[in-house]
Symmetry: none
Subunit: 232 residues, 2 copies
DNA sequence: CCGCCCCCTGACACAATCCTGACGCTTCCC
DNA sequence: GGGAAGCGTCAGGATTGTGTCAGGGGGCGG
């Protein structure tokens, strides 16, 4: 399992709790690194790239919720907040700030370990997706940094909406996207019913990137469901 | 926000709690679907493809942890467990079975909503997909992400209704589904009396996926009751 | 102020799907 | 043996979904 020997950063100022966590996690085979202050935790995180962060809200040099937000500016590493404060507002604020879970002291070790496994499971799942800047599907090539689209080397000029639609389809090559999913992603939630937009823009895209727009090989229709970019 | 109008499946047998959740979630703009039993929840999930599942552990017809495990055989949709049981073992078992979070009754609505946002955030990160995987029954193979059906490696093209019917049967492989259950799930509650639809579409499905449609080995008839997909 | 480009919208043709009725078969019960 | 009920099969017509075209309106830059 990939959770074995995962690097865990524990951010905690109370010595007692820190010792407790260290022994518990080490016993499970985790590689534990420690930070006592918010500042220190950022240094640790940047230098040692942990796979999971356990974060106590009650730090001496700053608000843990702010710290969470700061982490989220540059990393998606799972953050499990541990706090003596059981107030509803704290939980909601921490979770909305980007924390993945919230445990109130006192907590059971086994529950913590189980929730850590969940967090690491999520990370492993999310890690597989390639959010690379260049997407290639057959003859099609989309460079998201340069915002350039080419088919068989030939440059293709796309309008903003066409481009967003194409990126969405290419990024999910092989998968079927429903009308609702596409409309929500490209036009926004309020437009989830406007399936006609889709037909018009799919036709335009096909005219620009397909060799024979009447017989699409890349942007195929899944009748009654949605569309799919064929990846083979 | 992309989590607006997300489809949520609530699996809960207590009427009071069900009503409570329904009003709270609807007020937040969620599209709520409901199931009262474990069997019903699988039917609902396969046919309506929710983006999140709220699952009460205390169901009349089965263990919620087993149900979680069953969901995880074919879908990665976020599951938040709600339970009156606050025992550590229950939490660990549910989380390790594949649940993404665990709330103990009584819980605060705001915390539930915050944890739902976390779960939906994770799902959105993992991809635009609804995170379903593959169902395999003998020679039959259903890939819900690609929406592809194959029998012994050979691709099969299905219409929307045929596909929904097949997914329903495959997800419940081994179990007998009554005419009413199938009709309700595939065509909707108003059509529970139209058993003729079933005969027509079962015949069409058999013609497409059975080696000898006259002697079905996958989609078998349970006379006077309903149909069943044989899982061996 | 003008022109261009893009997005939205409506009308229409075509294709595919779903519904519906008729009919023959089997099974079970009387 | 006969009838009824349930099931499987077939084919045509209604309905829905999809592709296509063209034009108006609004925003943006010159």
């Amino acid at each position: 399992m990939s959770e074995l020997a995962a690097r865990v950063l524990v951010v905690e100022d109370e010595q007692q709790m820190l010792r407790f966590l260290r022994t518990a996690l080490t016993a499970q085979g985790y590689e534990v690194r420690e930070a006592v202050t918010a500042a220190e935790s950022i240094v640790e995180a940047t230098t040692h790239n942990p796979e999971l962060i356990l974060l106590d809200l009650g730090l001496p040099d700053g608000d843990g919720i702010d710290l969470t937000r700061r982490f989220r500016e540059w990393t998606r590493v799972p953050i499990i907040v541990i706090s003596a404060r059981g107030r509803e507002d704290d939980k909601v604020a921490a979770l909305d700030a980007g924390a993945d879970d919230y445990l109130t002291k006192p907590f059971s070790v086994n529950e913590l370990l189980a929730r850590m496994r969940v967090a690491l499971r999520h990370a492993a799942q999310a890690g597989t997706d390639t959010s690379s800047t260049v997407i290639e599907v057959g003859e099609l090539r989309v460079d998201q940094v340069r915002r350039e689209v080419a088919v068989g080397g030939r440059e293709v000029r796309l309008t903003p909406t066409e481009y967003r639609l194409l990126v969405l389809m290419a990024a999910n090559a092989g998968k079927v996207l429903t009308h609702r999913q596409i409309l929500k992603a490209v036009w926004g939630p309020p437009y989830m019913g406007e399936t006609h937009y889709l037909r018009v823009f799919m036709a335009q895209l096909r005219r620009k990137i397909e060799a024979d727009p009447a017989r699409p090989r890349l942007l195929v229709t899944e009748p009654g469901v949605g569309y799919r970019m064929r990846d083979v």
